[in-house]
């Protein structure tokens, strides 16, 4: 038996000339809630649909619960699928929608009633059982789709962009609800999203896809802190792309003492420490001089856009500190940069920081 509940091995899939999946390999452990994250067209939905049996891979093997399911039709794979459009049966009531999978299993009426009512209770729609999908809000429809997918007690729950069609306000609420509910049920689940915030907030593990390939697999924290590839570094979090990192103080050489000239990289806003003057700066010597271009009030902090050595960087500044305005000079200390080499990312800490700590 494999240690994985779901495993994909060497999966390839093309639609005409378009390569949707290139040599996909990954495994998902039982009970995990996994986010498939990537820009649109990166092949994430194709992966989900192949696991469900709604698409067939050109080559490679798919295992669910240790069993190869390539030749098993969608309906026999024991999966629950929540479609992006929800695909609710528009002429059936909420109750009949949720009961559909159970009637196919020829369960008796009493059992179906009990099970459907339980599920509607779980998703908080017990009062709506006689409504039609058209009479529900987006969030309610999503929960019906969720209950419908869960009704036949699948081993695996697949959700395609589950929050895409929902208002921003309800979305936040629904995310947390979905995370707690899935964790309580303990069902292995995979959801597809193009929204990094959503993936980071909801998923136990994230799989990042790009151009049909898998870029990185890991927990949200790992991926955020240690992006493997330049794509991941740029895609996850707020990032500022640089073509040449060697021009900044403290980043002229690599860890192995080779020159960083011509090497690109990424800076995140939280890597910047922006000081109004030397007295405010913690490391004035290692700081670059910058010019404030614009400031934006963002509620709990202020975003400051600066021009530093011809690059436009942005960082945050506390509301407590002296306000900066357009045209002001400022000192910017760059704590770290993700540098790229051969599509691989390494974290470079500012060398000035090391020296300073030695002095102290």
């Amino acid at each position: 038996m494999s240690e994985f509940e779901v495993e994909l091995k060497n999966i390839n899939k093309s639609f005409g000339d378009f390569k949707a999946s290139r040599d996909i390999n990954f495994g998902i452990k039982k009970g995990r809630l996994v986010g498939l994250l990537g820009p649109s067209g990166s092949g994430k939905t194709t992966i989900l649909r192949m696991i469900a049996g709604l698409e067939n891979p050109d080559s490679g093997d798919i295992f669910i619960g240790g069993e190869r399911v390539n030749d098993v039709v969608a309906g026999k794979r024991g999966i629950g699928f929540v479609f992006q459009s929800y695909a609710l049966f528009r002429h059936m009531t909420v109750f009949d929608n949720v009961a559909f999978g159970l009637t196919l299993l020829n369960k008796d009426k009493e059992f179906i009633n009990k099970k459907v009512n339980e599920l509607l209770e779980l998703v908080g729609l017990a009062k709506f059982s006689h409504r039609y999908p058209a009479e529900l809000s987006g969030g309610q429809r999503q929960r019906v789709a969720f209950a419908r997918a869960l009704a036949p007690e699948p081993k695996l729950l697949l959700l395609d962009e589950p929050f895409a069609a929902i208002d921003a306000k309800v979305r936040k609420e629904l995310r947390q609800w979905l995370k707690t509910t899935i964790n309580e049920l303990g069902i292995t689940s995979i959801f597809v999203t193009h929204d990094q915030d959503e993936a980071i907030e909801v998923a136990d593990d994230i799989i990042i896809t790009n151009k049909g390939r898998i870029e990185q697999v890991g927990t949200p924290a790992d991926i955020y802190r240690e992006p493997n590839t330049s794509f991941v570094a740029e895609f996850i979090g707020d990032s500022i792309r640089l073509d040449d990192i060697s021009k900044f103080k403290g980043f002229d050489i690599n860890e192995d003492n080779t020159s960083t000239e011509g090497i690109g990289g990424i800076i995140r806003p939280e890597f910047l420490e922006i000081a109004a003057d030397e007295s405010e700066a913690s490391m004035p010597l290692g700081s670059e001089e910058g010019k404030v271009i614009a400031t934006y009030f963002r509620g709990n902090n202020i975003q400051v856009d600066l021009e530093v050595k011809g690059e436009i960087l942005h960082g945050w500044r506390s509301l407590e500190k002296k306000p900066l305005k357009r045209g002001d000079k400022a000192l910017v200390f760059i704590h770290r940069i993700y540098s790229f080499k051969n599509n691989h990312t390494t974290i470079l800490e500012n060398r000035g920081k090391l020296k300073d700590s030695v002095i102290i």
Partner: protein, 272 residues
């Protein structure tokens, strides 16, 4: 603005007069001519043996065309909208082709297939099977002429509804028949009915194709439209218009049903 109002009134006037002259006047004329010699003659023209036989044959051909074309229409629309396969566009244009073929030419097809010059003819002759110049030919020609109607009504509706619901049902293990009956059919029933009324109207009134294959054997292979032609050519105008009035009534019923269906399906859409 005054000018706008003038434009508006003249356009409405133009549209209404056009429809009145082109469509309403002919209907009024049918009513007037049918009843020209009083109700007794009218009733007599309809209950006379040959007219009744023609009515029955028209009914048979219409029922057959609607029945078979419904099965074909549903199957082909399902095929064209629920799957991707090679040659799909080609198949769709083949299905549309009977629209571009004159009914007279369509009738000719069946003459060539089953008539005296056909390689099948000796066999049919030996087995005493009569197709052209007989009832089966009329039914075949009627089916041919109405072949694409239901498919054409269903395809855009099913295209717009997408495959999600069917895929969802399939992913839960439903078989094809269950998916069709429980998911697809309730979603397309108004479009299907709409197609059926179109098919009925055309089948009931088909003239050219049926005319070619019928051989005009009076009382035996005449449909109502052909019967009208014969009466008219015999200068029996009152009887011709009396029979015509029956078809006019059917046509109006079909129009009302069509409009009702359209109204119902729109109501459903606006509810969603």
């Amino acid at each position: 603005m005054k000018k706008d109002k003038l434009v508006r009134i003249s356009l409405i006037f133009l549209a209404v007069s056009f429809i009145f002259i082109m469509l309403v006047l002919p209907l009024l004329l049918v009513a007037k001519e049918a009843l020209a010699k009083g109700f007794a003659v009218y009733a007599n023209s309809l209950t006379e043996g040959i007219a009744v036989k023609a009515m029955i044959l028209t009914l048979e051909a219409t029922v057959a065309a609607v029945l078979f074309n419904t099965i074909f229409g549903v199957a082909s629309a399902w095929l064209l909208t629920k799957y991707d396969f090679k040659g799909k566009t080609f198949l769709a244009s083949i299905i549309d082709l009977p629209f571009a073929i004159s009914p007279v030419v369509a009738g000719l097809f069946f003459i060539m297939l089953f008539g005296r010059m056909s390689p099948l003819y000796p066999f049919l002759q030996a087995e005493h099977i009569k197709i052209v110049f007989a009832i089966p030919g009329i039914i075949l020609a009627t089916i041919f002429v109405t072949l694409p109607f239901i498919t054409r009504e269903l395809v855009p509706v099913m295209e717009a509804q997408g495959r999600d619901e069917e895929e969802a049902a399939a992913s839960m293990g439903a078989d094809g028949f269950t998916i069709f009956r429980k998911i697809t059919l309730p979603n397309i029933k108004w479009a299907l009915l709409y197609g059926v009324t179109l098919c009925t109207a055309r089948a009931m009134g088909e003239f050219g194709a049926v005319s070619v294959v019928s051989g005009h054997i009076r009382g035996k292979t005449n449909t109502l439209p052909l019967h009208i032609e014969i009466l008219y050519n015999e200068y029996n105008f009152t009887a011709a218009f009396a029979v015509a009035s029956v078809l006019v009534i059917f046509a109006i019923i079909i129009l009302i049903v069509r409009n009702y269906i359209e109204w119902r399906s729109k109501k459903k859409i606006s509810a969603v």
